[in-house]
């Protein structure tokens, strides 16, 4: 595999034997709050504009200023956009971490660093490029107060020279980043980038192997965060009531949505909003409002992360039993309280699937890309109203908060499916209705909306103690009948959830099952396993829970099935075990990663090789 070909012979400080084109990782180590985000985005975007498949991952602390942060950019001509563990070019701007960052590098890597750090004394097998950042920034930024922010842009210029990134693309990316309104800031930063480039050109002799060459892989593509893609999906799905409570990493989902709603969802005839957004007092209230709105017939949503999911538990159970539609976006992250809130995890798969007390089952959608964030968010609103139940859209910090290249989103052609709602005219014909009666055999009753102008329209909504006519009951048979119908409704969902994406390899004994952002590591690992170990593997990517027959077929066709989880307790595997036969369960193996960083292919490959005994 290409990622391994990089490993050079030691020592290699005198110059590369070969060049490595469009296939390496850059890591920028800075202090958070130093404005490095702009420089990093511009660098990533410039490579994107060079037509090279690229991804950016921000590893940041839960802090506003002063703690270490790393931004990795991966360029891959093969189109691998998952995280790559090995760093090929380090930009060391943080004195706190510089030594450790340098010591972790593989031989042959390149290091751009702030000269006073004297990192070149640490290793003899790396390519060092020192730059006096403070001296360089002073002439291009007369305002001393701004220098801290502008000095990062110097490394964009230096890296552009080292990697042969076209400076016009740096300029274009800067203009894109700052927009027309901040032309002055763009100009100031451009001056710094140029100064960096010129310094590098007159000072360095390039000895490392890495190079960007123009490709054409990004024609027509966009760059977007998963959170923004979910926001757009919700807006084009016609969401009308949005409730939220700020929490990392989901806040930007609703914040972005608010921006778009203000632009595209003010009724041009009346100047009034066709939406309501409430920043609630907590997640207890945000889910309550979303359910109240869903009950009253609005397309409602809330957005949160694990701690919010925990708080929403009781209400989500009521939503299940009262059969109220709403969409819950769960941008998953690590742990409660001060528990790595800025690190990614597939941490809520089990808890979301069964959230609340009593017997509860909730459908979940698992988008893996911005495009799926867009389309599946739309599908989730239809699904919630069709099945009259809370639906979870499970993303994670990696997908939600990082920038991803994506094909542009397709305009939704399907009309909104508002589900089984009886109007006053329907009630005239029917004479009445029983809210929780399974008329159609699919487990889904018909509902009316409050304020339906009809004397036969009303019903009383409560928890699990109701009969078909929504009357209060504590009778055993009523309770059991209702539980059976709810269970049947969940079975019906299996035929309507998004089907998994399946890639069968004809010779494969083993198969992968994964969901969400594990996708990128798994696809790359499949290639690694075949190329390096001659192990062919099939792959089934789940797009939803409840699971479908494609999953059991997939298990049947393989000897061993590796279920990939980004959590310690193999939550996806545990969910599968809940409904598999002993024979099926016997084939299941587990691959788990839970370090808080996006999953990388090498981790998966190494673990498969270990478990396969190769």
């Amino acid at each position: 595999m290409s990622t391994l070909e990089v490993a050079p012979a030691e020592p290699r400080i005198s110059g590369s034997a070969h060049t490595v084109v469009n296939d390496f990782s850059i890591q920028v180590a800075t202090v958070n709050g130093s404005g490095s985000q702009t420089a990093n985005s511009v660098l990533m975007r410039s490579i994107f504009q060079m037509g090279v498949p690229v991804s950016g991952k921000n590893m940041f602390p839960s802090n506003i200023a002063g703690l270490p942060t790393w931004f990795t950019i991966r360029a891959s001509k093969h189109g691998y956009i998952g995280r790559k563990k090995e760093i090929d070019l380090l930009v060391a701007m943080n004195p706190e971490t510089a030594r450790e960052d340098v010591m972790k590098l593989d031989s042959g890597a390149a290091v751009v660093y702030d000269e006073p750090l004297k990192l070149n004394a640490l290793r003899s097998d790396l390519h060092f490029y020192p730059a006096p950042f403070d001296k360089l920034v002073a002439p291009v930024c007369p305002d001393a107060k701004l220098r801290k922010l502008v000095r990062n842009m110097l490394y964009d210029g230096i890296v552009a020279w080292l990697l042969s990134i076209d400076m016009d693309e740096i300029h274009n990316a800067l203009v894109k980043q700052f927009g027309k309104r901040k032309a002055k800031a763009a100009e100031l930063n451009w001056g710094a980038a140029q100064a960096g480039y010129e310094f590098a050109a007159r000072t360095y002799t390039k000895t490392d192997a890495f190079k960007i060459e123009r490709m054409h892989a990004n024609t027509g593509k966009i760059i977007i965060e998963g959170n923004a893609a979910c926001a757009l999906g919700a807006m084009f799905a016609g969401v009308t009531v949005i409730t939220w409570y700020p929490i990392t990493p989901s806040s930007s989902l609703v914040e972005t949505l608010i921006g778009y709603l203000k632009r595209f969802r003010i009724d041009p005839d009346t100047g009034r909003a066709t939406f309501a957004v409430v920043q609630a007092e907590d997640e207890l209230a945000s889910i309550g409002m979303a359910l109240g709105a869903g009950w009253a017939g609005a397309r409602s949503m809330t957005s949160t992360a694990g701690p919010g999911i925990s708080l929403m538990s009781e209400f989500v159970g009521l939503g299940y039993y009262a059969e109220v539609p709403t969409v819950i976006f769960d941008v998953q992250r690590v742990g409660p309280s001060t528990g790595l809130p800025t690190r990614t995890m597939q941490g809520d798969l089990l808890s979301a699937a069964t959230l609340s007390h009593g017997d509860t089952q909730h459908p979940m959608f698992f988008p893996c890309s911005p495009e799926e964030c867009f389309t599946m968010s739309g599908d989730a609103f239809d699904f919630a109203e069709r099945f009259q139940t809370p639906v979870f859209v499970m993303t994670d910090l990696d997908l939600g908060m990082n920038n991803w290249p994506s094909d542009p989103f397709p305009y939704p052609e399907k009309p909104l499916d508002r589900g089984k709602v009886l109007t006053a005219a329907d009630l005239d014909k029917l004479g009445g209705f029983a809210r929780y009666k399974d008329v159609d055999g699919d487990g889904i009753g018909y509902r009316t909306l409050p304020a339906t102008n009809h004397a036969a329209g009303a019903y009383f909504t409560r928890g699990s103690g109701h009969n078909e006519r929504a009357q209060y009951t504590e009778r055993e048979d009523d309770y059991i009948n209702n539980m059976h119908r709810l269970s049947h409704k969940f079975q019906t969902m299996r035929k309507h959830v998004p089907a998994p994406e399946v890639h069968y390899h004809a010779d494969a004994e083993i198969g992968f099952v994964a969901c969400g952002t594990s996708h990128y590591a798994v696809t790359e690992s499949c290639d690694q396993l075949l190329a390096e170990y001659d192990i062919p593997a099939s792959y089934l990517r789940l797009k939803a829970y409840p699971f479908t027959t494609e999953l059991t077929d997939f298990i049947a066709r393989h000897q061993r099935v590796y279920v990939v989880d980004q959590n310690r307790d193999a939550q996806l595997l545990a969910l599968m075990r809940l409904e598999m036969t002993p024979e099926q369960i016997a084939k299941l193996r587990s691959i788990k990663y839970y370090g808080g960083l996006p999953l990388d292919a090498r981790t998966v490959t190494d673990e498969i090789v270990r478990q396969e005994g190769k």
Binding site: L284, A293, S300, P450, A458
Partner: protein, 349 residues
């Protein structure tokens, strides 16, 4: 066969939209005989009937507790939502945002509002969401058999002899301080006053908080209780004599200036406030705080209109919502066109 002349059936009594009072009733109550909550349910039925509210336009909301069971006992033709404990305000907020034509009627208790639900109550107040919020306040948890709630008065005694040694939350004071625009206290045994207050709340365009002392005959109606019938008889101090003139009735009696204060409400109805023992300005929050503080020192339970503000914008107005319900906006209004997506995609390239 001889023909017997049968008298024509008496004309059924209907309200001004042609509905009988039976259209405003609910299921038979399962609360204890003599429970104050049953009296409040009766007032709700009378007021909505007499005001001619279309029952299907009403959304009933409650949390958990004896009080929160009561929406099943009135307005059967209205949708109702029995939420989780203390969190009725959020359900009501979502529903009313989704359909602003709905008339929200929340019924809750002192445990539901002042203990587990105080957070949601305070934020509801802060938003001035247009709805009616009736607290059936008996100072104890009934359904769990008689524990103190957070409105129990300092020094009051449970049947078991336990003395409450924490001060009470005064829900009216909280509502006043943080933004409700109609705040009143009443007693479940005072039919006339409670009717005037509920009708005012129906007519008011903003959050109406009515704290009704509603004795629990089973767990808190004994000697030593401050929420008992006998305590209220001895300690109730009425601020005013209230009467209500709905918008559809002509005002027949001219009123002498100074004697009665007339407050015109959002729907054109009038609340007429006749002073009793004192001058009291119900449009002054400061006067309300002073009166509550004085009453507390004198161990009086002050009832009547504590505060009314007909000017302050409510939450829906602040959201600048479309006038038609969000819930049923057609697709053309809620899914932006193809050109909008094209524009956004272009920006992201």
């Amino acid at each position: 066969m001889s023909t017997v002349a049968t008298p024509p059936p008496p004309a059924k009594k209907v309200n001004h939209i042609g509905l009988e009072v039976i259209n405003y009733k609910g299921a038979k109550t399962t609360l204890c005989a003599g429970c104050g909550h049953n009296s409040i349910s009766e007032r709700v039925i009378e007021c909505f009937y007499e005001m001619g509210v279309e029952p299907w336009r009403v959304g009933k909301f409650s949390g958990i507790g004896c009080s929160s069971k009561s929406p099943a006992y009135f307005l059967n033709l209205s949708h109702g939502f029995n939420a989780v404990h203390g969190r009725m305000p959020s359900i009501a907020t979502g529903a009313i945002m989704a359909n602003r034509t709905m008339l929200g009627l929340g019924v809750t208790g002192d445990g539901d509002t002042a203990s587990i639900g105080i957070g949601q109550f305070m934020h509801l107040v802060r938003r001035n969401l247009p709805m009616i919020y009736i607290i059936e306040d008996n100072g104890v948890y009934g359904l769990t058999k008689g524990q103190f709630s957070a409105t129990a008065d300092l020094g009051s005694k449970l049947k078991t002899g336990v003395i409450n040694d924490l001060p009470p939350f005064d829900c009216c004071a909280l509502a006043l301080r943080w933004g409700a625009t109609f705040v009143a206290r009443s007693f479940s045994g005072d039919k006339k006053q409670l009717q005037a207050l509920i009708k005012t709340a129906i007519a008011h365009n903003g959050l109406s908080v009515i704290d009704v002392v509603s004795p629990c005959v089973t767990f808190n109606d004994h000697e030593g209780s401050t929420k008992s019938y006998s305590y209220m008889k001895e300690h109730e101090e009425m601020l005013q004599d209230l009467s209500f003139v709905p918008s559809f009735e002509e005002i027949s009696v001219e009123i002498a200036e100074g004697e009665v204060r007339d407050i015109e409400l959002h729907d054109g109805s009038h609340l007429r406030i006749r002073k009793l023992n004192r001058d009291y300005d119900p449009t002054s929050r400061l006067a309300a705080f002073t009166a509550l503080e004085e009453a507390e020192r004198k161990h009086e339970v002050l009832t009547g209109v504590l505060y009314v503000n007909t000017e302050k914008p409510n939450f829906l107005e602040m959201l600048h919502l479309a006038e038609e319900p969000l819930a049923t906006l057609p697709q053309a209004k809620v899914r932006p066109g193809r050109e909008a997506l094209d524009e956004i995609m272009e920006e992201l390239r």
